[in-house]
């Protein structure tokens, strides 16, 4: 690879890693299936790479990426519709107003960030956190399940929340604003 090309690739990789997960969750909201969603997001990134010479990697690409994924997802739904029975229409009838689009986008992005942050937690910490948040287990149950003390469960849980808060500090306030708006508190 030439030097310029390597730099472009690094920028491209950064963009990819930053948005891939969130974009997949976003597409999944319309398509349902994660594998199909991943294919859609891959296709969008391939397009970005093909246009890398003209693509401005310095500008925030978030809305461009989400819009592209949205459009492609709609194409997939349209293509599938040709083969599906009329009963399926309701599921696919995802008509979006502008406000709804940006809310769905913000939410998917946040879910992606949280999921990525959870994956990055130390193994034990993640395990405890997921048992509580995902499986709804009480501290005592987790302690018994993993053969550790309740105090350790407490420590791991708060450690997880601390890390997540730190990892998501750039989003957490935007996020609050967005939810406040939704709740008509503003």
């Amino acid at each position: 690879l030439s030097k310029d090309e390597s730099i472009l690739q690094l920028k491209f990789e950064k963009l990819f890693r930053e948005h891939f997960t969130g974009l997949c969750y976003f597409a999944q909201k319309y398509l349902g299936d994660l594998d199909t969603s991943k294919e859609v997001v891959h296709a969008v990134f391939v397009k970005v790479w093909e246009n890398r010479a003209k693509f401005d990697f310095e500008k925030p690409a978030k809305s461009y990426l989400f819009t592209s994924v949205y459009n492609r997802s709609m194409n997939v739904i349209r293509d599938n519709k040709k083969f599906s029975s009329p009963g399926d229409e309701e599921v696919h009838a995802a008509t979006l107003e502008t406000g709804e689009f940006s809310d769905t986008m913000e939410l998917a992005e946040l879910e992606g960030k949280i999921k990525t942050a959870i994956q990055k937690l130390p193994e034990k910490c993640r395990q405890v956190f997921e048992l509580n948040r995902f499986e709804g287990k009480k501290y005592a149950e987790i302690a018994e399940h993993l053969q550790i003390s309740i105090k350790t469960v407490e420590t791991q849980m708060s450690k997880a929340l601390k890390v997540l808060k730190e990892e998501l500090k750039d989003y957490i306030y935007v996020f609050v604003l967005f939810l406040l708006k939704n709740n008509d508190w503003l």
């Binding site: 890693r17 708060s158 601390k162 808060k165 996020f175």
Partner: protein, 327 residues
């Protein structure tokens, strides 16, 4: 700001509170802290929303970002790069000169190398580029004599397992009837028997690109553990996230059956041991859960026989299975 206890609440306590694990006294402490100032309330709301959101996020299917990036890298890496090492250029030039030379001399000798396995035996071959190919029974690969120099493209009829040596500059391509399979360096199995309606690609390591020859740009990317099937009648590629381990049992001699119908079990055994087996309708409803590892056909059949109370008869080169059935 004062340093009183209402102003700071430890994250441990806040977590306990959100998890519903705090006792009355602890709840009071958090409430007091919340009410102390607008900032505290704002902080609390932010953390609470984050907390609530983690539940939805935890439920989301995990995405392995490193694997996805590898796939992306594979997709955007050009098939043939421009920076060929000088030795390779020399090799290619030499190959071109020799080939044109031969053409000039009018020697239209076949440049194609063909390797075949026999009816009931598997065969393992090393290709000029170091790639190891295991050919299942009744299978054949052919490739040009300069394989590994200018290209790494071959044609497969039947079934083979490939352990491809890594070479980013020369992608490894398998042509199997209507399907085209392209890889950089991976392990995968291709089943493409002429009589079967499906061409099945099972990936055990790395990434494989599967496409229809007529639509070479429409690639389906398969990663380790995935199976891609090209249906020759529907002319479409389908992807399955979980590879069937029995797809490569002819190579590994490992078979896993979990509540599998006998018809399916027999199909796998036939492909693994290259024996034609005919089963009677009476036992088609039977299901079995069993794992086999490195066993010969006789022991496998013995297990089936005693578990399902079957009668097995050999006639010529075929096996006949019958029994009272499992209803």
């Amino acid at each position: 700001m004062s340093n009183n206890e209402q102003h700071i609440v430890p994250i441990e306590l806040l977590t306990k509170f959100l998890a519903g694990e705090a006792n009355v006294e602890e709840q009071m402490l958090v409430k007091k802290w919340q009410d102390h100032s607008d900032e505290n309330l704002k902080e609390f709301n932010a953390i609470q929303k984050l907390w609530n959101q983690t539940e939805t996020a935890a439920r989301k299917e995990t995405i392995d970002i490193n694997a996805e990036w590898d796939r992306m890298l594979d997709a955007i890496t050009p098939a043939k790069t421009r920076t060929l090492p000088i030795m390779r250029i020399v090799q290619i030039a030499a190959a071109i000169i020799i080939i044109t030379g031969l053409a000039f001399l009018g020697i239209k000798q076949s440049q194609i190398q063909t390797l075949k396995s026999t009816f009931a035996k598997t065969e393992t071959i090393e290709l000029p580029d170091g790639t190891i190919v295991s050919l299942n029974a009744k299978s054949k690969i052919s490739y040009p004599k300069d394989f590994g120099i200018a290209s790494r493209e071959l044609t497969l009829k039947g079934e083979a397992f490939f352990e491809v040596t890594k070479n980013k500059e020369l992608p490894f391509i398998v042509n199997a009837h209507e399907a085209k399979i392209e890889v950089v360096g991976t392990r995968f199995n291709v089943r493409a028997y002429k009589k079967q309606t499906q061409i099945k690609v099972t990936v055990t390591q790395g990434t494989v690109k599967l496409s229809e020859k007529k639509q070479p740009t429409k690639k389906t990317i398969l990663t380790a553990g995935e199976t891609g099937t090209y249906d020759r009648q529907v002319k479409a590629i389908k992807k399955k996230p979980v590879a069937d381990k029995n797809d490569i049992s002819w190579k590994t001699l490992e078979m896993h059956f979990s509540n599998s119908p006998l018809t399916e079990v027999i199909a796998v055994i036939q492909n693994t041991y290259h024996m034609e087996i005919i089963i009677s309708d009476s036992v088609k409803d039977c299901t079995i859960t069993v794992d086999f590892q490195n066993q010969d056909l006789a022991s496998v059949l013995k297990v089936l026989k005693s578990t399902l109370d079957l009668t097995i008869r050999k006639d010529g080169d075929k096996l006949y299975i019958s029994g009272a059935g499992c209803r």
